[in-house]
């Protein structure tokens, strides 16, 4: 018996020896995908994962289409044209968006994909050793660009789903500051102040580390300052907004186009474009298909969304009317994204014109004098070819600034809606907005149902 045991022992010892070396069958790799531990090992990997984050903007629910559609519809400057239009149109037109609305759900999904992807860039590239980079500043730049994108995503999420106008509110949004995992998937809501603080921190890191401005479609120190100016304005930090606006305006990298229509002719190469979503024939954008009419001279569109009479009235007689609107056989169509055939219309996320208007508003709201504010406003009015403002008191000036933003930035990023909320007159502009509850969209059910740590927005 003893001898038998010895033989068995030798047998199994030799087996376990084999199992350690020859037969380690449990290590496998998926040739189609890299594991997260292998995703970013080289500077090239770092560039790729950053490209993946930028690409999150070019999604149907986000800057490829819906980001420029929601605001005009919610605020009544755009409407649906036919009954086949997707459900968002009906519900957003009447400001009764349901939690099941899958268009809103897609947008939520896309916005948080940008947040998660950029957080992954920050984490994974951050873990790379500096020595791998021939130019170690590139590592800092990549991380800084990712911070910019994460700030952008969180700011957009806050504006749609959080009470961004009330810094004392608890009703902010979830912050995706760690790469998404099953174990951290149930994010609670952060307060509005916490969200702003996180956005500002991301933008400060971007300002510190991002490259200088070279092209409009990558984040830069300039775009981070410009975005920070916008966020500061929303936070009612007018001194800060004004200072940052001055820095941007003072930059030699960008300059106002001579005429308004040059912006949409030069597009990604426009001299006043601070930050844009890249689009090309290969990486096509989606807005033109949905806003152009079938008989449009720009290409056969679906014409799901059309400017409303309210917008036509507002822009009537303004020199920017012919650039913003085309009257097709089926009716008026938005003309800012006309390249349906090629599909390479960018999305104009930040232009220098907006910075002048941020500066004007910040000054009018206490960071300076009415005269200074009016001067900033008139820079834009002059370029547009409309009579300069003669307003002498802040209230009137602010009214003019709001309507100037509507005309200057129409259909470019939902400024129509967010501004009306910030100026406190959305319920006048859009009577179907019956209470403050509907200044935000509902948290989509695909987030709310599985997320045990999150409560729905009040009123939904």
């Amino acid at each position: 018996m003893k001898r038998n045991s010895k033989i068995l022992l030798v047998f199994f010892v030799s087996l376990s020896f084999y199992s350690c070396s020859l037969f380690d069958t449990l290590e496998t790799t998926d040739p189609n995908n890299s594991g997260s531990e292998n995703a970013v090992l080289t500077p090239q990997d770092a560039e790729s994962v950053l490209s993946g984050a930028y690409a999150a903007m070019n999604q149907d629910g986000y800057y490829s289409r819906m980001q420029v559609i929601y605001g005009p519809i919610l605020s009544g400057y755009m409407g649906s044209t036919n009954i086949t239009t997707r459900n968002i149109t009906f519900e957003a037109e009447t400001n009764t968006v349901a939690v099941e609305n899958n268009t809103v759900a897609n947008t939520f999904d896309d916005v948080y994909e940008l947040a998660n992807r950029s957080t992954n860039v920050i984490t994974l590239v951050g873990a790379l050793e500096d020595r791998l980079f021939t130019d170690p500043t590139r590592k800092v730049e990549i991380i800084a660009e990712a911070h910019f994108l994460r700030g952008l995503a969180h700011f957009d999420a806050l504006r749609f789903w959080g009470r961004f106008w009330d810094r004392s509110s608890d009703l902010g949004i979830p912050l995706r500051l760690e790469p998404g995992e099953v174990t951290n998937s149930d994010l609670p809501r952060s307060t509005v102040e916490e969200v702003y603080s996180s956005i500002m921190s991301d933008l400060d890191l971007a300002i510190a580390g991002a490259p200088d401005y070279s092209v409009s479609y990558f984040a830069s120190k300039l775009s981070a300052r410009a975005m920070k100016a916008r966020v500061a304005l929303y936070m009612e930090e007018y001194e800060m907004a004004n200072q940052l606006a001055d820095q941007v305006i003072g930059s030699t990298a960008v300059a106002l186009e001579g005429s308004y229509d040059d912006i949409f002719t030069n597009r990604l190469n426009s001299s006043e474009l601070i930050f844009a979503m890249f689009a090309s024939q290969i990486e096509g954008s989606g807005h033109s298909l949905f806003i152009l009419t079938p008989s449009s001279p720009f290409g056969q569109g679906r014409y799901d969304y059309a400017p409303t009479q309210a917008f036509l009235d507002a822009i009537d007689g303004d020199p920017r009317e012919s650039v913003s609107i085309n009257i097709a056989a089926e009716g008026p169509e938005v003309a800012k994204y006309p390249n349906l055939t090629i599909g390479d219309d960018p999305t104009y996320i930040m232009r220098l014109a907006e910075i002048y208007l941020i500066k004007a508003e910040a000054l009018a709201r206490g960071a300076g004098t009415v005269d200074q504010a009016r001067e900033a406003l008139n820079t834009i009015k002059n370029r547009a070819g409309t009579p300069p403002s003669t307003a002498t008191d802040a209230t009137q000036l602010l009214t003019e600034i709001q309507s100037e933003k509507l005309l200057e930035l129409a259909f470019e990023g939902s400024h129509e809606w967010f501004d009306a909320i910030r100026f406190g007159n959305i319920q006048t502009i859009k009577p179907s907005v019956t209470s403050e509850n509907f200044w935000v969209l509902p948290i989509p059910d695909i987030e709310d149902d599985p997320n045990g740590a999150l409560d729905q927005n009040p009123g939904y």
Binding site: D30, S36, S51, A53, F108, N116, F278, S280, E283
Partner: protein, 1020 residues
């Protein structure tokens, strides 16, 4: 032994006849047992090839007349191995007979070993190879249909070599394929990991899948064992939840070479197909469908009334079947061998489809010394499948034949294919060339060493390799061939390699008379890799030069790869006390690359106990019970088909920004992801009465699967949509009965009958948040808590709306003023308003309208033998399963220029109200074609699966020849079917063996047919 044989004698029906014959002499002798040397009374002694015979007396003595020149005596007795002795010139012949292991001590193969059936504590069904040999089907899996209780075998379609779905005791999983694990001579096959027909840059050929089991020549098979309960199967751990099929190939035997040749030839015809409308009927129906919705009838010159084509006739044919097998078997004490070659050619009844197999096998074993033995099992095979698009694929021949206008000709005057209203002229559609060349190697080599008595060490290494070369050319005149340019060709390969290394040690303890204890320990390592690539091109100079080099324009390239690995340790202890009380415990630990890092190893134990009541003293005097055993077992088994990389956090490509390729997080990690766990309980009884005149077993089982892999939603703020989690639950419970008996057992005439039946109830218990899952296909199936897997979903047809008043009343009750659709008219289906809201809506008025799970199924065989003639009839049946008949859904409703079944002549019209077929209406304004109870039919059937008549030539005729035996036979398959199913073939499963959630669907699926074969077996 003697006492036992005495009562056998009393029970055995014996006809012994002595005829006096001229020029005879007498041979006498004594028959004794090889076990204890005691005399054997009642043994039949027959002069071979004659009716001359006798039986031994109480002392084992016999006396028989033989011709002067002698003859061959056949000694036989139930429970003993028959012996044949040539008398030569001898006048006295004493022989010793030994027990027949197949009877009371039948040996069955179990995981990593074999055991005697009487010692089993688990549920193991066995089929001997000879039961199924010469069946004219390609694969062993198909040959098992109806043979084993609880093993439900469903053919996908009529493609020879096409996929077969096998469910052992019902499906254990929801989203994985639920096929059992196949193990050939100890090598777990790669069956589940091959794409087969699903290749193709355009996504395949309908629901068809290839059958890798058809690459094994089942004439080489000695036995098939199906391990059903946990005690039997849990030693295969994480792959045993759906049962294990052990296939043992023929081995050599000591003795002079035995050569066997077997040739079969025959033909197959497709089942009777429902008739299509002819030209006159077509014209009437088409015009009425237009006038019914206010369109003008087609002008007369729209129709070519001189033409009347039966397109089904044009695409089906009488198909030839031919099989040839040659084997040699023999050996010495030191070395033995089994070698074979086989050819199997089967045309499909659908033109443009066929199957061919060439295979060779060599199994060798050498006993180098008393302590060392080594050998190998090796098979090489080539199979070629030629297939056509099938299953609702728009260029499929059957699909187009059902829809093509009967008034359009097959050919133009110039001999080219005429245009059709379908994408392809149906006959042209049979000329697509889609060929799969499968090269398969399954082999292993082993070494066994017995260092000391009772200890056996064994090591083996094996591979299962398949390379599938796809060769496609779509001629220029076909729709597919004209899609991109002139012709379309695709060449591709798929290579799958499984490697296996395992070691086992077995020790039998010597614990005295009353105890036996045997233990086994082992370990195995398996790896699997698969690669595939394919390229397609168009722009050929003509339809003859079709290599990719001849093409002008590349269209597409694809390529993929995957892999997995498995490390396992396993053990078994078998103990019996007094040959009455049996205990069997097994355990396996499987470590899999597929499991999450927190659950990388799973442990699968089992316990089985048995009580052989027949060995107890109080039954020992019993005269009719040979064997009676109660069994009970419990154990855990797993299903590891959860995807190769599902647990890992992954980054994928496929996105770009400003020209730079991007990577993005594509899958969130679930480090806890694991196998699906099935807990199996089994209670069984095995019995053998009246000297094995009646024997069988009854089992009750309950299998509960937990941790079923489902997709659970994640909050979107995570950046992901969902994660695979082990959350689902499902159960199967049932009763299985297997019984066989020799109803008449005389010298000349034997009638044996055997049958099996199984009742299985399946229920989905738990899904993610109780939410339904939409199944594969066209929304016809649903997975819902409380319902069986394979439930059908749709509207409920209440009848046909007979009058405008009836319709008006319905519309009045609706808040929108419309009950069904605005185009609804008398003659349309009336759907049930299940939610009572006055309207028919997709959300509220669809429900479960049937399911594909049978209530019971099984088979039975009657075999009659008279002298050398044997007639065997095998019936197979299934009851209570339903079929979702998409084929009729489209063919019973005339809505456009597509042709319909002739039964539509019985459609609803104001003059023909008593019918269940709706009116014909262009555009189908009421959507009578929607998924509804109209399409759900009873799929029950009983089928004469095989009828076999054979004649074994008398030995007397062969006495002075070199021929050992000659057997001629005729066989019919599927000759007779009783079913209510309206389609051609109730054996149908459009989505094939890899889809469990959408079983029992008939969607323009290539039907099977009747086969007639004739053959001869020659033994040398």
């Amino acid at each position: 032994m003697k006492k036992f044989l005495l009562f056998c004698l009393a029970l055995t029906l014996i006809e012994s006849v002595n005829y006096g014959q001229a020029q005879e002499r007498t041979v006498t002798g004594k028959v004794t047992s090889v076990d204890d040397g005691e005399a054997l009374p009642g043994v039949n002694v027959v002069l071979k090839g004659t009716s001359t015979g006798t039986v031994t007396d109480i002392d084992g003595n016999y006396s028989i007349s033989v011709p002067q020149n002698g003859g061959t005596l056949v000694f036989s007795f139930i429970g003993l191995l028959s012996e044949e002795i040539a008398t030569g010139a001898r006048s006295s012949i004493d022989i010793q007979m030994s027990s027949d292991v197949k009877q009371l001590s039948e040996v069955v193969v179990v995981g990593y070993g074999e055991t005697r059936r009487k010692d089993l504590t688990g549920s193991v069904a066995s089929i001997r190879g000879e039961v199924i040999e010469s069946m004219p089907v390609p694969g062993i899996d198909q040959a098992l249909q109806g043979r084993i209780a609880g093993v439900n075998v469903i053919k996908a379609n009529g493609q020879p070599g096409g996929g077969i779905s096998i469910r052992v005791r019902g499906p254990a999983s929801i989203n994985s394929n639920n096929q059992p694990l196949y193990v050939v001579d100890g090598i777990p096959l790669l069956t589940d990991d091959v794409n087969g027909f699903n290749g193709g840059n355009f996504g395949g050929f309908g629901g068809q899948s290839s059958n890798t089991m058809s690459q094994i020549n089942f004439n080489d098979i000695e036995s098939v064992e199906v391990l059903k309960d946990a005690s039997a199967s849990a030693i295969y751990g994480s792959r045993a939840a759906n049962g294990v099929v052990l296939i043992t190939t023929k081995k050599g035997k000591a003795g002079k070479p035995q050569i066997d040749a077997n040739y079969t030839v025959g033909f197959q015809e497709v089942f009777d197909l429902p008739r299509l409308a002819n030209t006159a009927e077509y014209k009437e129906l088409l015009n009425e469908s237009r006038t019914n919705v206010g369109l003008a009838a087609q002008p007369d010159d729209f129709f070519d009334e001189t033409t009347d084509v039966d397109w089904q006739d044009e695409i089906f044919r009488t198909a030839r079947i031919e099989q040839f097998n040659l084997s040699a078997r023999g050996g010495s004490e030191k070395m033995n061998y089994f070698a074979s070659v086989g050819v199997d050619n089967q045309e499909g009844t659908l033109k443009g489809t066929d199957y061919q197999r060439l295979s060779a096998r060599l199994n060798l074993e050498s006993r180098a010394s008393d302590k060392v033995k080594f050998g190998n099992n090796l098979t090489l095979s080539y199979t070629r499948d030629r297939i056509q698009s099938n299953d609702n694929f728009i260029i499929g021949p059957y699909y187009t034949a059902l829809r093509a206008r009967p008034d359009l000709p097959v050919f133009n005057d110039d001999g080219t294919f005429a245009a059709s209203n379908t994408f392809d002229n149906p006959v042209a559609a049979t000329t697509y060339f889609n060929e799969f060349n499968n090269y398969r190697i399954i082999g292993n080599a082993y070494l066994e060493y017995e260092p000391i008595e009772n200890l056996k060490l064994r090591g083996s290494a094996g591979i299962d390799y398949v390379n599938i070369l796809r060769d496609m050319y779509w001629p220029s005149y076909t729709f597919g061939g004209g899609l991109f340019g002139f012709g379309y060709a695709e060449r591709g390969f798929e290579e799958a390699i499984k490697t296996l290394v395992d070691f086992t040690a077995t020790y039998n303890f010597d614990l005295g008379e009353e105890h036996t204890l045997s233990v086994l320990g082992g370990a195995s390592w398996e790896t699997f890799t698969r690669l595939d690539a394919s390229a397609g091109a168009t722009g050929f100079p003509n339809d003859i030069l079709t290599t990719l080099n001849s093409a002008a324009t590349p269209i597409s390239t694809t390529g993929n790869a995957t892999e997995w690995g498995l490390n396992s340790f396993f053990g078994r202890a078998s103990y019996s006390f007094k040959n009455r009380y049996l205990f069997n415990g097994t355990v396996r630990t499987d470590g899999s690359s597929r499991f999450g890092e927190d659950n990388q190893y799973g442990v699968f134990p089992s316990v089985g106990v048995g009580w052989r009541i027949s060995q107890e003293d109080f039954l020992s005097g019993n005269s009719f019970i040979d064997d009676l055993k109660l069994r009970a077992s419990w154990g855990l088994t797993g299903n590891n088909k959860i995807g190769n990389f599902a647990s890992l956090a992954q980054f994928g490509g496929g996105v770009a920004y400003a020209g730079g390729g991007g990577t993005i997080p594509s899958q969130v990690a679930n480090s806890e992801l694991q196998w699906e766990t099935t807990t199996k309980y089994d209670l069984g009884v095995d019995f053998s009465f009246f000297n094995a005149r009646i024997k069988g077993s009854v089992d009750y089982y309950y299998n509960k699967t937990e941790d079923i892999l489902l997709t659970a939603p994640l909050p979107r703020s995570s950046g992901f949509n969902s994660v695979s989690q082990n959350v689902g639950e499902m159960e199967n419970r049932g009763i299985e009965v297997e019984i066989s008996g020799d109803l008449i057992r005389s010298n000349d005439f034997i009638w044996t009958m055997s049958g099996n039946i199984a009742f299985n109830q399946n229920e989905v218990l738990k899904l993610v948040d109780g939410e339904d899952i939409a199944a594969t296909g066209f929304n016809q199936s649903i997975v819902r808590e409380g319902e069986p897997l394979g439930s059908f979903f749709g509207y409920v047809v209440e009848g046909i709306i007979q009058t405008q008043e009836e319709l008006d009343a319905l519309n009045l009750g609706s808040s929108t003023g419309i009950y069904q659709t605005s185009g609804t008219a008398p003659g349309d289906f009336r759907y049930a308003d299940l939610d009572g809201d006055g309207r028919i809506t997709s959300g509220g008025d669809q429900t479960v309208i049937g399911n594909a799970q049978p209530d019971f199924f099984g088979g039975f065989t009657n075999t009659f033998s008279y002298k050398g003639i044997t007639l065997s009839a095998f019936f197979q049946f299934t009851q209570g399963n339903e079929i979702f008949n998409f084929t009729r859904q489209e063919q019973a409703v005339m809505e456009n220029t597509s042709n319909v079944y002739a039964e539509v002549m019985n459609r609803w019209t104001p003059d023909n109200r008593d019918t269940d077929l709706p009116r014909v209406a262009a555009g189908d304004p009421n959507q009578n074609e929607r998924n509804s109870s109209f399409n759900v039919e009873d799929g029950s059937y009983i089928r004469l699966k095989t009828l076999n008549l054979s004649y074994e030539l008398p030995q007397s005729l062969l006495a002075n020849t070199f021929i050992r035996s000659i057997n001629v036979f005729a066989q019919g398959v599927n000759l007779w079917t009783l079913t209510d199913y309206s389609g051609a073939d109730p054996e149908v499963n459009t989505f094939g063996q890899n889809v469990s959630t959408a079983q029992g669907v008939d969607n323009v699926t290539y039907p099977g047919g009747k086969t007639y074969t004739f053959g001869v077996k020659l033994g040398l």
